[in-house]
């Protein structure tokens, strides 16, 4: 059946099961939008393309499915860049469709032209510029396969305006033929044997679980395996939710602001079983002093992650779920009583805590209350900075895909649009954006999107009238010279919410914290902003100074 390329793409996306796309129209994609007009695919109109990319990313992280975003050529495409880089760093399956100037205008600095494939090459898993209409469907099939297979990641397809309008015969492409892309899912049996031997010999094993567990839906396998060898499980920030945080084997998340007992546990271990983690500098601190006595089993679907930051004793390339099943079948049950005695001492001596103060709202207290009132069931999306770390420390998640945060790139402005994506992916869950007063202003315009879509997202601003994390560093390492981190002015966030037809409320007294959260949770027809006026000089502890050893923490 003959149709335009634009119509063929829409039909293909329908056949692939895409239900929702996030985007912003423009001249180069107008034909594509015309084709979307009568489609069963829901289009969410964001207010800035960065919001589209983050929303698609949030949708992908919350659902485990492909997230799709659309932008026009030139400025539309360049506005996607931060969102794509965010998805790339956290291995999130996102498909970006961008318009491009007509093929005859390519390379001539035409109106709204940018070298989109050139710009996004380092921040996508792969990208395409389609110049032949006959290639389009094959390219889409490949792109979705690449984005969602192996180590997931964003893929961009750039399509000139005249290609969108060209006529082709629709034929669903069944096969993908990519000789250069063949991820290894099955771990090598010999490596599994070596790993099993190390596990048997170890006295102080620890499992270090990362975002790869969540991406490969391996949570159940992780728990079974951990229980069988009775090993503590620490996570990276991205691994939060890989194991329920009330599970007796859970031992906190490690790193710069990880729990002290988590950092001690991994640093004093004699065997790290690392799964779907990349040993990022935020997790390991100074790599030379990281876990000096530990042997390392490193399991990852991406061979390039193995050996990038550490030298493992047993490298295993494979899918986390399959590898954990293999390991589970091969290992002998194990008890580690001495080790657990030590860990429990650390847990008792260095719990995650903060000093309560009278008559001021402390951000940690706000998170604790949110946790209590939502019974640990809400999807927590965060912005970036102190708010993110307090959310990670004090909201104990139970399930994978329940904690959505920009781990690798640390993108301020991620939270609100990602929360929109998450809420659309999981409409029956409570979705909360834990925000800072700095971050929320980086994509505040997406409040309009949330209002239009009637999404009752709860935006809880921990408002300390400053860029808290940088201010904290300045306090501790720059002699309290608060260069450009204290805000003298803020918009009235309550009025701002109301201006957008959302709900807004300011909380200045500790006694009001609980009732305000409850009030917010009752609102079901529009987003809610609660502006919690918290103490300006509250810091995130524990803290490992950048480049320090993770067992040398500033506790408070």
């Amino acid at each position: 059946m003959e149709m335009t390329v634009a119509q063929a793409i829409v039909r293909f996306l329908e056949e692939e099961g895409v239900k929702i796309v996030f985007g912003y129209p423009g001249g180069a994609v107008i034909t594509f939008y015309d084709a979307l007009y009568n489609s069963s695919i829901k289009h969410v109109l964001v207010r800035h393309e960065q919001g589209a990319a983050h929303a698609a990313d949030g949708y992908a992280r919350a659902s485990g499915k492909l997230g799709v975003c659309i932008a026009t050529s030139g400025p539309g495409a360049t506005n996607l860049v931060t969102g794509l880089a965010t998805a790339f760093m956290d291995s999130s399956p996102v498909l970006a469709i961008t318009g491009q100037v007509r093929t005859s205008a390519l390379g001539k600095d035409s109106f709204q032209e940018a070298d989109t494939t050139g710009i996004t090459m380092p921040i996508t898993k792969h990208n395409y510029l389609v110049k032949n209409p006959e290639e389009v469907l094959r390219v889409f099939k490949e792109a979705i396969f690449i984005a969602t297979t192996g180590r997931k990641g964003p893929v961009l397809i750039d399509i000139p305006a005249d290609i969108f309008a060209a006529k082709i015969n629709y034929q669903y492409p069944k096969d993908v033929n990519l000789p250069g892309f063949k991820p290894t899912f099955e771990p090598h049996p010999l490596q599994i044997k070596k790993a099993v031997n190390l596990i048997k010999e170890s006295k102080r094993p620890v499992i270090f679980a990362g975002g790869g567990i969540i991406a490969s839906e391996a949570s159940e396998e992780l728990i079974k395996f951990a229980e069988k060898i009775n090993a503590p499980v620490v996570t990276s920030l991205m691994g939060k939710g890989a194991i329920p945080e009330d599970h007796p084997l859970y031992c906190g998340f490690i790193g710069m602001h990880g729990a002290a007992y988590a950092n001690f546990t991994i640093n004093k271990s004699d065997l790290i079983i690392a799964i779907g983690v990349r040993f990022s500098d935020r997790s390991t601190g100074k790599i030379d002093t990281f876990a000096p006595e530990a042997k390392i089993i490193h399991i990852d679907i991406d061979p390039a992650e193995i050996g990038e930051n550490t030298t493992p004793d047993v490298p295993i390339v494979g899918d986390a779920k399959i590898t954990l099943q293999r390991l589970y079948n091969e290992v002998d049950p194990k008890e580690n009583p001495e080790w657990w005695k030590q860990i429990n001492e650390w847990k008792e001596k260095y719990p995650l805590r903060y000093r309560r103060k009278e008559n001021v709202i402390q951000p940690q207290y706000v998170i604790e209350k949110i946790y209590e009132i939502t019974k640990g069931e809400a999807i927590i999306v965060t912005e970036v900075g102190q708010n993110q770390m307090w959310a990670a420390q004090y909201y104990k998640v139970k399930k994978p895909r329940q904690f959505i945060t920009s781990g690798g790139l640390g993108t301020m402005g991620f939270g609100l649009p990602a929360a929109i994506g998450a809420k659309l992916a999981r409409p029956n869950d409570i979705v909360i954006d834990i925000a800072g007063d700095g971050s929320i202003q980086m994509n505040i315009q997406e409040l309009a999107t949330a209002v239009t879509e009637k999404l009752p997202i709860k935006i809880f601003i921990l408002n300390n009238s400053c860029l808290g994390m940088v201010r904290q560093w300045q306090e501790l390492f720059y002699n309290k010279r608060y260069a450009c981190t204290l805000f003298d002015f803020h918009p009235d966030f309550v009025k701002l919410a109301e201006a957008y037809s959302a709900y807004g409320r300011r909380v200045e007294k500790v006694e009001e914290v609980e009732s305000a959260i409850e009030w917010a949770l009752e609102k079901n027809d529009a987003p809610v902003i609660i502006d919690f006026m918290v103490e300006r000089e509250e810091n995130v502890f524990p803290m490992v100074p950048a480049g320090g050893s993770i067992d040398k923490m500033m506790i408070d």
Partner: protein, 163 residues
Amino acid sequence: MKHTLSILVENKPGVLARVAGLFSRRGYNIESLAVNTTESPNISRITLVVDGDEKVLEQITKQLYKLIVVLKVNDYTDTPVVERELALIRVNSDSNTRRAIIDLVEIFRASIVDVSEKDLVIEVTGDSEKIDAFIKNLEPYGIKEMVRTGKIVMARGMRLNNK
């Protein structure tokens, strides 16, 4: 240590940019580069020389394999290979020096491809050391212009299996 990598890639627009971009953004310097198609029109071969220890090389290789367009990466460093580079050299030459230069050209099995009153253009092929040596011998006459290709290599004997 210098490594010679031979990378088979899909013959598509932008592939070289992907490969070269990977090197530059991870801070690895490409010392020499040669690209052209192979016996198969869909496949190109990039031969490049890069400096780094085993660990760096392993990481480079893994990162190259992450590129969807990369089919095969061979490190020819410790393999017996036929290695060639080509150089075109324009060197000062008048009637007094022409004979001496022609002798040099013969010794190095190079060839003179252009002659004018004041200079000669010489073509030379061989491994990098041979070309370096030839250039050194020509320097006293005054080299006016020079172009060198990147290095290309092919394994000796049977085709190399990737380690």
